[in-house]
């Protein structure tokens, strides 16, 4: 019988080009960003990069109030968007799990937002959200609701952006939850029916606990995406009005590509990476069955 090492050798030879490519594409940027984050490096200057150790990190964590504001906006946006998407996604999944006429067509139309180009659709949403000429305020006026400022006010901008994100990504949560619903065993539901449980009791005591792993997967994936959201925020508000919708990604882009502080922007990127890593680990713990 051949030893495992002998069996593995030709397979390794076949995957090594891909492995080398991945190391270059993944390892190089990571190592280089870590290197840049320890430099005082202003690209629009004749002064070459200077090693400053952890100075950029100290400034980010202890001195830069705008970093704190961006961190708060990032989590607030994620919380609002995730709450809306998860609630609506699960409800829509329950709806699509029931039989009704035209279910297939409706479901197909429902997932179209997921396939749209974020930049293009953000431009459309900006037009719809114009306070004086936008169609959303027109619809509100038809039901005698006061017009909203949407993304044109510091008070409502995060909610408005979360609505756009929800419109795009609720279908994603719906699909995962629907997949989970279709794979649930039928015996607990039959037993509940025999025992006389009503719909609410069945949903909260049986359906939801059984769906938990699937919802958790969807929440983990969406929360990482929400934390990193860039396209719709950049196109619609560029972090404004003021800094009301400036998230960490927007802040990092501004520092690196508008203001050319490459070293500082790299340090923000590393801190952001650590934050996402911690959030992912915490959420993965919730996924474990009790």
């Amino acid at each position: 019988m051949k030893s495992p090492r002998t069996v593995l050798k030709p397979q390794f030879a076949f995957i090594s080009p891909t492995l080398v490519f991945l190391l270059l594409v993944v390892a190089f940027p990571l190592v280089y960003v870590l290197y840049m984050s320890t430099q005082e490096w202003y690209l629009a200057s004749r002064v070459p990069p200077t090693f400053v150790g952890l100075k950029n990190y100290a400034e980010i964590i202890f001195k830069d109030s705008r970093f704190g504001s961006a961190l708060k906006n990032t989590f607030l946006f994620t919380l609002i968007a995730l709450t809306l998407q998860t609630t609506l996604g699960v409800l829509c999944a329950l709806l699509f799990d029931t039989e009704f006429k035209g279910r297939g067509i409706v479901r197909t139309v429902f997932i179209v937002p997921m396939a749209t180009t974020p930049v293009a659709i953000s431009l459309v949403w900006i037009l719809m959200m114009q306070p004086t000429t936008g169609v959303l305020n027109y619809f509100l006026s038809l039901v005698h609701i006061k017009p909203a400022l949407w993304v044109f006010s510091q008070k409502t901008v995060l909610l408005a952006l979360a609505i756009v994100d929800t419109w795009m990504w609720t279908p994603f949560i719906m699909l995962i939850t629907l997949g989970g619903l279709s794979s649930l065993p039928t015996e607990p539901f039959e037993q509940a029916k025999i025992d006389g449980a009503n719909s609410f009791q069945t949903f909260f005591r049986i359906t939801l606990p059984l769906l938990r792993p699937y919802i958790a997967v969807a929440v983990i994936l969406r929360s990482i995406d929400c934390l990193k959201t860039f396209d719709i925020i950049f196109v619609m508000t560029q972090g404004g009005p003021g800094t009301a919708s400036e998230t960490l990604n927007i802040f990092m882009f501004l520092k690196g590509f508008y203001q050319f502080h490459i070293g500082y922007a790299s340090a923000v990127a590393v801190v952001f990476f650590v934050i996402i890593l911690v959030v992912s680990i915490v959420l993965l713990r919730f996924r474990r069955p009790e």
Binding site: L43, Q154, Q238, P241, G242, Q259
Partner: protein, 452 residues
């Protein structure tokens, strides 16, 4: 392969990949040394002395630069050179230039520079080739070319405090005052000449939602391109007498109070998200009574096919305050990449791009150009642009009275960001003095970090 050897391979690849940038920069540094170029010889200047060469022009996508792009074939026929043009939007062009210059790449030979943003930062970074020696080199400059053929405004824009000239301006675009003649006439009002008169007129003509009396840019960063020269009229200046940045003086506070109040009371809702596009579109569609912005928008307002206000717009120099009228002036120019290997050939493109023919072509589409002879030809400008006399007069006078609307500092983008946030917050209701005090603190730190 044994596990130990595999791990060694991973480490070697990672270290090599991290070391790649050093190798790239070293390679780039070698490319940065320009090679010797062909000259005119002892006979004097000749347009064809560099024939056969290819130049790379990095162009910013603005109407002011269209003439060069559209007529580049004439340069190629004149010189026997070929020009490859890469046109990018503003932000992308700046990012590309940043990458090219940081790598000391010789790919780009000539680029269009937004002087009002890039003047000092590019100069301090060594990203401009200094043009003074070229102007006086008779082997590469025609005998009939003179820097004195350009306006005083162009000289001011292109020249640094120590006399170095880094660009040849293609234009100097002032911000002028646009107002609805018909609306003011209906109310029996004269066009306002001062900022306080603007407020009085706004109070009388404001009639939402049919007509909002006044609007300006409210969007962060964009608003910092119009607010400063509005504040100049209140006597506000970027620096105090000792040369320190000072943006929270009583004049700046009064100016921001005025700006915020006008936009809160007389602008359409949502103006905090408005850039020049939204402001000029609203004016073009008849929703606004008054505004000021780049004079090139006058052409849009007079377009009978798209504009609801064609023939109804009055043009004037920006209203002033207690300290007079100081319109903002902004400019694009042509610059040579100091790392180019064809700088002498690139100089010919600068000369041709700013010649009288091209300047007349630009003026014909409404650009306020930088050559004296074209700017002074009022009859041509009125006939070719189809614009009324008050537009031409306002544009010409504004370039004489005006000043660059942004400070001469390296970190202009950060300046606009910090000031822009203060302006937006004030429009949203924050106390202007508090906002300017915070902006002043941040700007002082910024200047300390980047200028000293």
């Amino acid at each position: 392969m044994k596990r130990g050897r595999f791990a060694l391979l991973v480490v070697v690849v990672s270290v090599l990949s991290a070391a790649l940038p050093s190798l790239a920069v070293a390679g780039g540094a070698q490319e940065a040394q320009p090679t010797a170029e062909g000259g005119a010889g002892k006979e004097g200047f000749s347009w064809t002395q560099f024939q056969g060469k290819t130049l790379y022009l990095l162009n910013e996508k603005v109407p002011n630069n269209e003439t060069i792009v559209n007529n580049i074939g004439k340069f190629e026929a004149l010189t026997g050179m070929k020009v490859v043009i890469d046109t990018l939007p503003e932000i992308q062009k700046r990012q590309k230039i940043m990458v090219e210059m940081a790598a000391q790449s010789s790919t780009v030979d000539v680029y269009t520079s937004a002087i009002h943003v890039e003047k000092k930062s590019h100069y301090e970074a060594g990203w401009y080739e200094i043009l003074n020696p070229y102007m006086s080199d008779s082997s590469i400059t025609p005998p009939d070319w003179s820097w004195n053929d350009f306006t005083n405004a162009a000289h001011k824009l292109a020249t640094h405090p120590n006399g170095d000239i880094s660009t040849i301006p293609l234009d100097n675009s002032p911000h002028i005052f646009f107002y609805r003649k018909d609306v003011l006439a209906k109310h029996g009002l004269e066009p306002p000449k001062t900022l306080s008169q603007v407020e009085q007129v706004a109070r009388k003509i404001h009639n939402p939602p049919e007509l909002y009396a006044f609007a300006m840019r409210g969007l962060k960063y964009a608003n910092a391109g119009v607010f400063p020269h509005t504040a100049f009229g209140f006597g506000a200046r970027f620096f105090d007498s000792s040369g320190n940045i000072k943006m929270n003086t009583p004049e700046w506070v009064e100016a921001l109070e005025w700006y915020a109040r006008m936009l809160q009371n007389y602008a359409p809702p949502g103006v905090v998200g408005w850039n020049w596009y939204e402001v000029t579109s609203a004016f073009q569609q008849g929703q606004l009574g008054m505004t000021w912005d780049g004079n090139m928008f006058g052409g849009r307002f007079e377009d009978p096919e798209k504009s609801q206000v064609a023939g109804k717009v009055g043009y004037a120099v920006m209203p002033g305050g207690p300290a007079g009228q100081v319109p903002g002036v902004y400019a694009n120019g042509l610059a040579i990449n100091p790392f180019s290997a064809k700088k002498n050939a690139a100089w010919l493109l600068l000369l041709w791009g700013t010649n009288e023919e091209n300047q007349y072509n630009s003026a014909a589409i409404g650009v306020t150009v930088s050559r004296k002879s074209v700017v002074a030809d009022t009859a041509f400008l009125m006939e070719k642009t189809g614009m009324p006399e008050d537009y031409v007069k306002a544009s010409t006078l504004s370039t004489e009275l005006g000043d660059i609307g942004l400070p001469y500092i390296v970190a202009v983008n950060e300046f606009r960001d910090i000031l822009g946030i203060a302006i937006t917050n004030a429009i949203e209701g924050s106390d202007p003095k508090t906002e300017l005090d915070l902006a002043q603190k941040q700007l002082a730190e910024l200047i300390e970090k980047t200028e000293k």
